[in-house]
């Protein structure tokens, strides 16, 4: 049996065993006798072999006396009489042949092995066998809310792994010597190590392991596009499906939080230097946590009334519960990070003013300016930017209107333009607020859909329709100037463009009209101008984002760092965190050097 699997079963677990050929049970239960019965061949004689059905109890009953250390010739199923010996395998302890039976455990069937040497208590596997068997464990699905039920509520869709499922999934990890998954992660989480700790049932230690490099695993486990990052390079993925790293990460973090095992880390001695962080999204929070831990006094400025940035206003409750975001932010507060909401930097304080009070600043304001397509009718009523739609729903809780005061844009026939995660979030939110038909309209094909695989899958399950290779060219309004239909054109894929994706080209004459009463435009964002209006000397790149040195994230202004979407344009939560980490490291190096410089002359003066 698989070494890891054994550990999940408690000592003396009662094993239900079956023949791998005819699937008849080997178990015999008579009054108080519980046994597993086989036929064995020893010295060309057929022998009755009875084993204890309990794990790790090696009681054997043979119809003929055999010395300990002797090896049986064959092991047969008493019903179908077929041999159970697995030719390509051998005992990991003594090299004797092994017989295979199937046990049913943890609501699935697992192959279990019995050494043919009488007295040998081994039922583990060699490394090579382990690999072969591991491929047989399927990737574990997360239990989730029923699709017919969940379209009527805003509760989180997946429930997350149970400990049992997590242990099973953790058992699939091959523990590669050169783990490719770690390279695929923007913050290099020690993935094999934390998975090994899960397998050893040291889940709190696994959480600590992740937090060495990623402070917000509960968030990342839920929103990272793992299939393009860590899981894309998993070796298991070449033969089967990759290890569900994200789901395990989420499990570990949730376990730690639910079991109340989260502890404030040790904060280093106060450096006396102050850091200003602009924006409380994933990038800013990462810098805040890192710098606070290093002993800096940190203040985070947030423009909205609620902290969390895109995690709060953008990602819906059913994908990332706000209680989790607030838990992480409370954790930062416990660490001593100061948070100032309702502060629009650029207006209430300029960057230059901040630098008078603070030793360094980090700009992580995101790419918050919604892009429109510039087509006719875009300013009609009930045509929303994804930002406005999601902000109303998530931040302002419009789905609970009129209990909450912000009105909810309600449509029965909703079109969402775009194919990213934001588009999926909008579509699924619309479905939950009573839309009968929700359609994703995307100009490229399914292959190019930029959304996370899981989100597309969930959207489809929830009945969201996909109109691919289609682009709107005009919105048509009613007399009261709200949208009632849109004209679309079909597209085909041409030559690859700069992004490497094939450029969609309109097919002339393929126009048609589609009835809609709510349109959500989710075609991306641009850089927010507020910071630039008051900081004209902040250098910007061609696309209008802040130019930052990729190695330090420092901008053209000394002591001002930037990271996340305001540098790269729309990207992912984890990439913003990665940038935050780089910035924190560089900031710490620079400020430490400055401290030492300042301290030196002081020493001289004391000498005199």
């Amino acid at each position: 049996m698989l070494e890891h699997d054994v550990k999940y079963l408690k000592f003396k677990t009662y094993l239900n065993t079956y023949c791998p050929h005819c699937h008849n049970s080997f178990n015999v239960e008579k009054k108080d006798v519980r046994q597993i019965e086989f036929k064995a061949v020893f010295n060309q004689n057929e022998v009755d072999l009875k084993l204890s059905p309990y794990l790790d109890v090696f009681d054997v009953d043979l119809s003929v006396p055999i010395e300990k250390g002797e090896v049986l010739d064959d092991l047969l199923c008493p019903t179908c009489k077929k041999s159970l010996i697995v030719k390509e395998m051998a005992c990991g302890e003594c090299g004797s042949p092994v017989g295979e039976v199937i046990i049913s455990a943890m609501s699935k069937l697992i192959p279990f092995f019995v050494c043919m040497k009488y007295g040998c208590e081994w039922h583990g596997l060699t490394k090579a066998d382990e690999r072969r068997i591991k491929l047989k464990i399927p990737r574990q699905d997360m239990p989730e809310q029923d699709q017919t039920l969940r379209v009527h509520n805003f509760q989180e869709v997946p429930y997350g792994y149970t400990t049992e499922l997590a242990l099973l999934e953790a058992g699939r990890c091959l523990q590669c010597k050169n783990p490719q998954c770690v390279l695929g992660c923007p913050v290099n989480v020690p993935i094999p190590q934390f998975i090994a700790l899960i397998a050893e049932e040291k889940i709190d230690e696994a959480a600590k392991k992740i937090k060495e490099t990623n402070l917000f695993p509960a968030i990342c486990g839920r929103v990272c596009p793992q299939e393009n990052q860590c899981e894309s390079t998993c070796i298991m993925g070449h033969k089967d499906k990759p290890v569900a790293i994200g789901r395990l990460e989420r499990f570990v973090a949730d376990y730690e939080r639910k079991m109340d095992l989260v502890r404030v880390p040790i904060i280093k001695e106060n450096t006396g230097q102050k850091i200003a962080i602009i924006g409380s999204g994933p990038g800013g929070l990462t810098v805040a946590a890192d710098m606070r831990q290093l002993g800096y006094s940190v203040t985070v400025f947030e423009a909205l009334h609620e902290t969390g940035g895109v995690l709060t206003y953008g990602i819906p409750e059913f994908r990332l519960p706000k209680s989790i975001v607030q838990f992480e932010i409370n954790f930062l507060k416990e660490m001593g990070v100061r948070i100032e909401t309702n502060h629009v930097i650029g207006n209430i304080h300029t960057i230059d003013e901040l630098l008078l009070e603070f030793d360094a600043a980090f700009i992580g304001v995101g790419a918050g300016l919604p892009t429109f397509m510039g087509i006719e009718g875009e300013s009609l009523g009930h045509v929303f930017s994804a930002n406005e739609y999601l902000t109303r729903m998530n931040l302002m809780k419009a789905y609970r209107f009129p209990e909450y005061d912000t009105p909810m844009p309600k449509g029965f026939n909703v079109a969402v333009i775009g194919g990213g995660n934001v588009a999926m979030d909008c579509a699924r939110t619309a479905k939950r607020t009573g839309a009968t038909e929700v359609t994703i309209v995307y100009r490229r094909s399914r292959q190019e859909l930029p959304a996370r695989g899981e989100e597309v899958h969930h959207a489809q399950e929830e009945g969201i329709k996909f109109k691919l290779l289609t682009n709107p060219i005009r919105y048509i309004g009613t007399d009261s100037k709200t949208v009632k239909a849109m004209e679309c054109i079909k597209m085909e894929l041409g030559e690859p463009d700069a992004s490497g994706r094939r450029r969609p080209v309109p097919i002339e004459g393929s126009n048609y009209i589609m009835d809609v009463d709510l349109v959500i435009v989710a075609v991306g964002n641009g850089p927010n101008p507020v910071i630039f209006q008051s900081t004209p000397d902040l250098k910007r790149n061609k696309r209008g984002y802040i130019e930052a040195n990729p190695e330090t994230m420092e901008t053209s202004k000394e002591f001002v760092y930037a990271g996340g979407d305001i540098v790269t344009g729309s990207a992912t939560v984890i990439e913003a965190m990665g940038a935050g980490r780089i910035a924190a490291r560089a900031m710490h190096a620079k400020l430490s050097a400055l401290r030492e410089k300042k301290n030196k002359p002081k020493k001289e003066t004391t000498k005199r």
């Binding site: 009334h305 909450y404 912000t406």
Partner: protein, 274 residues
């Protein structure tokens, strides 16, 4: 939390003035800029232009008309009560410089914002002509303040109960006919008023600035709800405005967009009464 230090009811209680303690905002806010207020945890975010400030006392003033649930709720607040959130200053300040003679036109509650801008123009050394209009005498606000600021002041009421009878466009036309030294017109008030003012000044080719008040959520450029068409380009009122060249604004579109939530506003108000 932000405390209301003074409350004043005007125009039969339909227009309210709050002096709010917000020292950081008071220090920074300039004429034409606005704040966003959220009254309580379930409240919506509403933009309100700052009508005055006292930098030393750390106080900003807002003046609002009671139109929907949130403003009704705000009317019920007393001096000493707290507002959950006040964010600001937001938007770009009015571009105030010495140009010579300016005509400042305010309609209804718009006078609240206008008088702050007018004050700035007066301080910059301009000759300020004020025109303010309202439905009737009782709805007229800030007359004393405007009298002090303006070198000349004309008041109009729709029903003739005070000042001249008619709309603000009538004295405006008279001024434009008589004076050729008018360099700038500032119009703040109902959309229809600003539209008519712009139509008139366009004939005389006089630069006209208007302050727009579209539906807004975050006020920092994020939601795009406040988009207006200016010179056929989509602009965001919160970060590009709220003041725009009135001759280039698509008022029709603004009117349509601002009437989108009338039904919800009513529902919300009814819900709160129930």
């Amino acid at each position: 939390m932000f405390q209301i230090v003074r409350k004043q009811e005007m125009a039969r209680g339909t227009i309210i003035r709050f002096d709010i303690s917000a020292p950081k905002i008071a220090k920074k806010v300039k004429a034409g800029q606005f704040v966003i207020i959220r009254v309580n945890e379930t409240g919506e975010r509403i933009p309100l232009t700052v009508a005055d400030k006292d930098e030393f006392a750390g106080i900003i003033s807002i003046i609002f008309q009671v139109v929907g649930k949130t403003t009704a709720l705000m009317r019920s607040l007393k001096e000493g009560d707290l507002l959950r959130d006040v964010v600001g200053p937001l938007g770009r300040p009015a571009e105030v410089e010495k140009v010579g003679t300016v005509i400042m036109i305010g309609g209804g509650t718009g006078v609240a914002i206008l008088h702050h801008v007018a004050k700035a123009f007066k301080q910059a050394g301009n000759y300020v002509i004020g025109i303010m209009g309202s439905k009737d005498k009782e709805l007229l606000i800030l007359e004393n303040e405007m009298t002090q600021i303006c070198d000349e002041l004309v008041i109009t009421t729709d029903d003739g109960s005070y000042g001249e009878r008619g709309f603000v466009t009538q004295p405006l036309q008279k001024y434009l006919e008589e004076r050729d030294d008018v360099k700038l017109v500032y119009a703040i008030g109902p959309i229809i008023m600003m539209k008519n003012v712009c139509k008139l000044t366009e004939k005389y080719k006089i630069q006209t600035m208007v302050s727009l008040n579209p539906v807004m959520i975050d006020g920092t450029g994020m939601c795009g709800g406040c988009r207006v068409k200016v010179n056929d380009e989509t602009r965001f009122c919160c970060v590009d405005g709220p003041d725009f060249d009135g001759h280039k604004v698509d008022f029709e579109e603004l009117m349509n967009r601002n009437s989108l939530y009338l039904k919800e506003e009513k529902d919300s108000l009814l819900f709160s009464i129930r």
